[in-house]
C-alpha cells in the first residue's frame, strides 16, 4: 500500500518524539492501544498555568500511519487550550494525512490519545 507524502514525511521525520518526566508540573500522559493491529501510542502534553498546551511529545509503536497520526497531533495541540485540543477529530487527521480507509483506525487512536491525555490532566488537577 502506498503512503501519502505527508505520512512519509512524518514517518521519516517524526516531530516531537520522546517523553517528559510524567510527574513534572503540568505534564499529562495519554496511553492508548489498538488491539486489531497491536499499535501502542503514548501522547504527553505539557500544560501551562494558563491552561494552554506549551509542548507535546509522543512515542508510538505501530505502522507508518499510526506514527504520522501521533506526530501530526503533537504539532496540532501545541498552542491550543485543552478544550480546543479536544476539538481535534480523527476525520481531520485522516484528511490531512490522506489516510486510506483501512488506516482510519490510526487517526482514531491519535484522537483517543488526546482525550486520554486531557483526562489524565484533569485528574491530576483535581488531586
Amino acid at each position: 500500500m502506498a503512503y501519502s507524502d505527508k505520512v512519509l514525511d512524518h514517518y521519516e521525520n517524526p516531530r516531537n518524539v520522546g517523553s517528559f518526566a510524567k510527574d513534572d508540573e503540568g505534564v499529562a500522559t495519554g496511553m492508548v492501544g489498538a488491539p486489531a493491529c497491536g499499535d501502542v501510542m503514548k501522547l504527553q502534553i505539557k500544560v501551562g498555568r494558563d491552561g494552554v498546551i506549551e509542548d507535546a511529545k509522543f512515542k508510538t509503536y505501530g505502522c507508518g500511519s499510526a506514527i504520522a497520526s501521533s506526530s501530526l497531533v503533537t504539532e496540532w495541540v501545541k498552542g491550543k487550550t485543552i478544550d480546543q485540543a479536544l476539538d481535534i477529530k480523527n476525520t481531520q487527521i485522516a484528511e490531512e494525512l490522506a489516510l486510506p480507509p483501512v488506516k482510519i483506525h490510526c487517526s482514531i487512536l491519535a484522537e483517543d490519545a488526546i482525550k486520554a491525555a486531557v483526562a489524565d490532566y484533569r485528574k491530576k488537577q483535581q488531586a
Binding site: T29, M31, V32, G33, P35, G38, I108, D112
Partner: protein, 177 residues
Amino acid sequence: MSIDLTQDYFSLFELPRAYAVDDRALEAAWHRLQSQVHPDRYAHLPDADKRRSMQWATRVNEGFRTLQKPLARAQYLLVLAGVDAGVETNTAMSAEFLMEQMEWREAVEEARAAGEVGELEKLHTRLLQHAREVRAALERQLDIDHDYAQAADTVRRLMFIEKLQHEIDDALLALEG
C-alpha cells in the same frame, strides 16, 4: 451428505461449545468432514451440486481455521455469545497494561538494534510464559465464569501479545538470517 450452513462451527465439528478444545478430536472431525464434502466426490454430479459441495468444503475449512487457533476460537465464542470484543474500536486498555506493552516493545527494539540475540531469546521465553498465563485466564473466564466482558478484555490483551510475538520473531529472523 449435506451440511447445514447455519449451524455454528462447534456443532458442525460435534465439539462442546467451549474454549478448551480437544485438538485431536478437532482434527479427526476435520478430516472426516473434509472427505465427506470433498469436491472430487461431486465431480460427476450437476453443477448445482458441485457448487454446493464447494460451499460446504469452504465452510468446513473456515471452521477448522477458526477453532484451531486459540485467539480466533475465543473471538468466535464471543461472537456466539453476542459480545462485541471491540478489537477495532476499543482503544482504552488499562494504562498499566499499555505501559507494560510499551516497555516490552522498547526492550525488543533495543535488543534488535544492539544485535543481542540472547536477549531476544530471553524476551521470547518470558513472553511465551506470559501468554500461557493469559490464555489460562481466558479459559477460566470463558468456560467456568462465563464472564464475557472480562474475556473480551483478555482477547484484546492477547492481540497485543501476539503482535509482540511477531515482532520478536521478526527481530530474531533479521539477526539470524
